[in-house]
Symmetry: C2
DNA sequence: TCAAATAGTTAAGCATACTAATTATTATAG
DNA sequence: CTATAATAATTAGTATGCTTAACTATTTGA
């Protein structure tokens, strides 16, 4: 009996797109210091993994290498990210946030979190706990799935699509 | 004391983009009968609100009217949606799914839900319940916020940005 | 040492979503 | 009962984001 499993899938499919759309519009309305959602997520990743390579970020964010290369170009152009050739392996690139990048990221993050906090205010302590628990359950599942999807793509490529 | 409020906001901001990215990639990988996420959501809305107008869908999905008009063009071109001039108000348009549209939507929906169900399989009954509860809490909050964001946009326009 | 693999870039094209301007219809003020 | 304003949708033009394909530079390893 997994009616609950189907219910759960439906709930996610109906809710998550609504949330992400609201986040996107919010970020655009507030201009978010001229960051798009992928740019924001990229800064977040680099902040937590300083010295990471382009492929690392691309895999995490779910973009192709060329897309990520261009995205990073933009951030470097705005002086938010430092792109340096790795000393160990000169094919690689190491990415770090500049001072400005760190500030812009923190401000964007604080702003978005403040907006979310305002939305969540009407909820009870317990309801918020439920949400946190749900997020903690879902995050690893979908992170793992993204990695899985990536390997699937590679297989398709090697077998001539 | 609302430490839990901040934790909740953070959890959402970290998790939701991961989920939506995985959904997007999944839909693209499976080609989903050539539907994008917004196209899918549009079909879903029309399925539930047959005879709705362009503005209705646009507001729900969070797109501008022109964008929605173009999106609908695509769906009409694929023979999935019927666009008819309203008999009551000839400025308006009424949207309904064609037989084909209904089928494609159902197949895409089933496919995505099946994929989600597979991902959620390892969870316990109770964990799933937590997720369903969280989604039910979040959906109305963000739906309402989208409406609010829209009125905000209109105000900005009327006050010359 | 030379071929294969890896990391990243550049280029070209398509899709998506925006703003601004336009058309067609309906509502309303004088 | 016009004439003007408001509404619903479309068209045109632009910007951006992301993709695939082709290419460069470096490293691995047979």
């Amino acid at each position: 009996m997994d009616a609950s499993n189907q219910t759960c899938a439906q709930a996610i499919l109906e809710t998550v797109p609504v949330i992400i759309q609201a986040i996107r519009v919010e970020m655009r309305l507030e201009r978010m210091h001229d960051l798009s959602v992928p740019q924001f997520r990229t800064l977040a990743y680099i902040a937590r993994h300083p010295g990471c390579s382009l492929s690392d970020v691309a895999e995490f964010i779910g973009l192709t290498l060329p897309s990520m290369s261009v995205l990073i170009n933009g951030l470097v152009g705005q002086g938010l990210v430092l792109r340096q050739v790795s000393l160990i392996d000169r094919r690689r690139v190491t990415l770090t946030l500049t001072e400005a990048g760190s500030e812009v990221y923190q401000r964007a993050r604080q702003g978005t979190i403040a907006w979310l906090q305002r939305l969540l205010e009407p909820l009870s302590e317990e309801e918020r706990r439920t949400i946190v628990q749900a997020m903690e359950l879902l995050k690893p599942i979908f992170s793992a799935e993204m990695a899985h999807q990536k390997s699937k793509q590679l297989v398709e490529e090697s077998t001539g699509r």
